[in-house]
């Protein structure tokens, strides 16, 4: 496998609150390789978004990276703020659930994309205009030339999402981080944006990190999956192994609680209880109070296992070993 684009190494992100310091990310280690689509899955409070915010340098105050490292092509993003600033927005870009996080409501969309081109690629004038039109066409904005002067609110939600993606792609990034990119959209529009992401990945050779709570989206888009719970990665596997035979009891529970639309179990399988309060985590494995496989061992924090299969799982009692089924057409 080629050298990773992005390496996250034992990252800890904490928030200082009135109730003391709360660790939202508790030692996350993860790599992203060129051209791959990695899903980062978790529920609210799992630390999935905060991890990627740390990569982008946009952790909300009062949060801060406490320890660990983030490297882009081998160079630390935490060591030099100036260099990191330059990489972010050019080589590593992020799109959000709400397009208005990225788009300024007061400026025409053409101007906003033009700014990215000027800053990161030094493009101006007719060359910039040609590139803007090319980008808008790439993301499927019809009649783009006539709409360069439109303000963001003059577009529908799905179109704004496309414009945000066009702006993210303006400087030819190698990695696109997409944080719940379809969650706020209607299902039929979601499907359109998923199709767009797949097309862009295949055409541009883009690596994508998809941050989501939606296992359906992961199954549809991702090559590899990292499952997060209470600030830690509890399982990493290729998408086929993960869905065929989840190793962590939490992953297994999530999958059972997400029936395919064709399945009709009499009762939905559930995971008992609720995700834990990050300021009040149980000792040892954070999942143990909800876990059907937990016993006395689990009071001690489990180690991350690295079996030869390339899967890792953070559990003393993982589910039985996986049977890898991978279709011949699959790409990794």
């Amino acid at each position: 496998m080629s050298a990773p684009l992005l390496e996250i190494d034992d990252l800890v992100v904490s928030f200082t609150t009135r109730r003391g310091r709360i660790q939202a990310v508790r030692g996350v280690t993860l790599q992203v390789h060129p051209g791959e689509t990695l899903g980062v899955v978790g529920e609210s409070g799992s630390g999935k978004s905060v991890t990627m915010q740390a990569v982008m340098g946009v952790v909300d105050s009062p949060g801060a990276v406490e320890s660990g490292d983030i490297r882009w092509r081998g160079k630390s993003l935490l060591a030099s703020a100036v260099e990191a600033e330059d990489l972010r927005g050019r080589d590593i870009v992020m799109v959000f659930q709400d397009a208005m996080t990225s788009l300024d409501p007061l400026f025409p969309i053409g101007t906003q994309i033009g700014e990215v081109l000027a800053r990161h690629r030094g493009l101006k004038g007719p060359a910039a205009r040609a590139r803007i039109l090319e980008l808008l066409e790439l993301v499927g904005i019809p009649n783009a030339a006539a709409r360069l002067n439109y303000l963001p609110h003059q577009f529908s939600g799905g179109m704004r999402q496309r414009i945000m993606i066009a702006m993210a792609l303006a400087a030819d990034p190698s990695l696109l981080v997409a944080d719940e990119p379809t969650t706020a959209l209607d299902v039929t529009i979601q499907a359109q944006i998923v199709d767009l992401l797949i097309e862009l990945r295949d055409r541009l050779g883009l690596a994508i990190v998809l941050v989501t709570h939606d296992l359906g989206l992961v199954a549809e888009l991702c090559d590899r999956v990292a499952v997060m719970y209470a600030g830690r990665i509890v399982e990493v596997a290729d998408v086929w192994s993960l869905f065929a035979a989840p190793a962590h009891p939490y992953t297994a529970g999530l999958l059972r609680a997400t029936p395919a639309i064709g399945d009709l179990p009499e009762r939905l399988d559930t995971i008992e209880g609720s995700p834990p309060d990050p300021s009040d985590l149980p000792a040892g494995c954070a999942f143990r109070l909800r876990c059907p496989r937990a016993d006395a061992t689990c009071v001690v924090e489990p180690p991350m296992s690295h079996p030869d299969t390339g899967r890792s799982v953070l559990c003393w009692h993982p589910e039985p070993p996986p049977v890898t089924t991978r279709p011949e057409t699959a790409h990794v």
């Binding site: 209607d186 299902v187 529009i189 395919a260």
Partner: protein, 326 residues
């Protein structure tokens, strides 16, 4: 979920229409036509039955629920409960009707007063309607907490100390306090985490089995609604485009919009990645002044569709669809 017939309807919508006035762009402009949020919607729900209503934002699905709750005025049509027209009740009559028709909303954070203890939140409707007081109300609260799977000591705490799923249980307990016959549940699980969502869906089903309550269960996609509904109505731009028994809808969807909705739900199985057949283009935009409201996005649309709105008719036994070409 059994599919026995739910003979006498408990609640009916008959030609239900709701429109909102649209303000003029400027005072010299002509007054624009009102926005037809819901138009000519008819259905009935039997005792102990769940009708799922599925539609995207702007489809009018929540307005249908609000109309049955008496929270928006109807521009035409009527809502009938136990054979009685409830669409134009006086304030006092409506308050009495509220005993029987309750709501569970999407956002458990917004619908619970953060300063009240949970026991008081649940007891409030009992006291307001003079149904119970003192120790009687106290006992009823304990019973309700148990019914929705909350610990007995939950009553003494404030909503802020509960997780999203537990708050939704509190909201359900309060709705059940009055022993309603009918509950409008507007996206009650959409804001919940995946691991908790299934718990609440199961709770809705268990309560129906125990109490025989009927639901209008509103959802924005066809995934979760399958697990609670006996019948499902798909709405688009304020009209029902398809309605049938649950299994018929999934096995043999008729309307192109229903098919697109089914196709749009991602399948949680990487071995079944499929090229989407029917990704529909565009978004729910301005409603065309004539013809089928889905025509601008429809892959099957013809001249007739743009001219004339298709009626909702039986295309198969008990399977209604509004489409000229399906």
């Amino acid at each position: 979920m059994s599919s026995e017939t739910h003979a006498a309807p408990l609640i009916e919508a008959v030609g239900l229409s709701v429109s909102y006035p649209v303000p003029r762009a400027a005072f010299w402009h002509r007054k624009p036509a009102p926005f037809r949020a819901v138009e000519d919607v008819s259905f009935s729900i039997g005792r102990g039955e769940t009708l799922g209503i599925v539609g995207e934002s702007g489809s009018g699905k929540s307005t249908i629920g609000r109309a049955l709750l008496g929270r928006v005025p109807l521009s035409s049509g009527r809502a009938v409960f136990h054979g009685r027209d409830i669409s134009n009740l006086s304030g006092g009559e409506m308050r009495r009707m509220r005993r029987h028709i309750q709501a569970v909303m999407q956002d458990p954070y917004a619908s619970l007063n953060p300063r009240m203890r949970v026991a008081d939140i649940i007891a409030e409707p009992l006291l307001v309607h003079g149904i119970a007081s003192g120790s009687e109300a106290h006992a009823r609260v304990a019973e309700l907490l148990d019914l929705v799977g909350l610990p007995a000591d939950a009553g003494a705490r404030h909503p802020g100390t509960f997780s999203g799923g537990q708050r939704q249980r509190i909201g359900i307990a309060r709705a059940l306090a009055m022993e309603p016959a009918f509950i409008v549940a507007d996206e009650p699980v959409s804001a919940l985490d995946v691991s908790v969502r299934a718990q609440i869906v199961n709770l809705f089903r268990d309560l129906q089995e125990k109490l025989g309550v009927s639901y209008l269960f509103i959802a924005h996609d066809l995934a979760i609604v399958r697990h609670v509904s006996h019948r499902i109505a798909v709405v688009y731009a304020g009209r029902i485009v398809e309605m049938s028994a649950r299994d018929d809808l999934y096995a043999t969807p008729i309307h192109p919009y229903t098919r697109a909705l089914l196709d749009a739900v991602p399948v949680p199985d990487p071995l079944h990645r499929r090229a989407r057949q029917t990704t529909i283009r565009g978004e729910l935009g301005a409603i065309p002044s004539a013809g089928c409201r889905f025509a601008p996005r429809c892959p099957l649309a013809t001249e007739q569709c743009r001219r004339e709105a298709p009626p909702l008719v039986a295309k198969a036994p008990a399977h209604l669809a509004a489409c000229w070409n399906a």
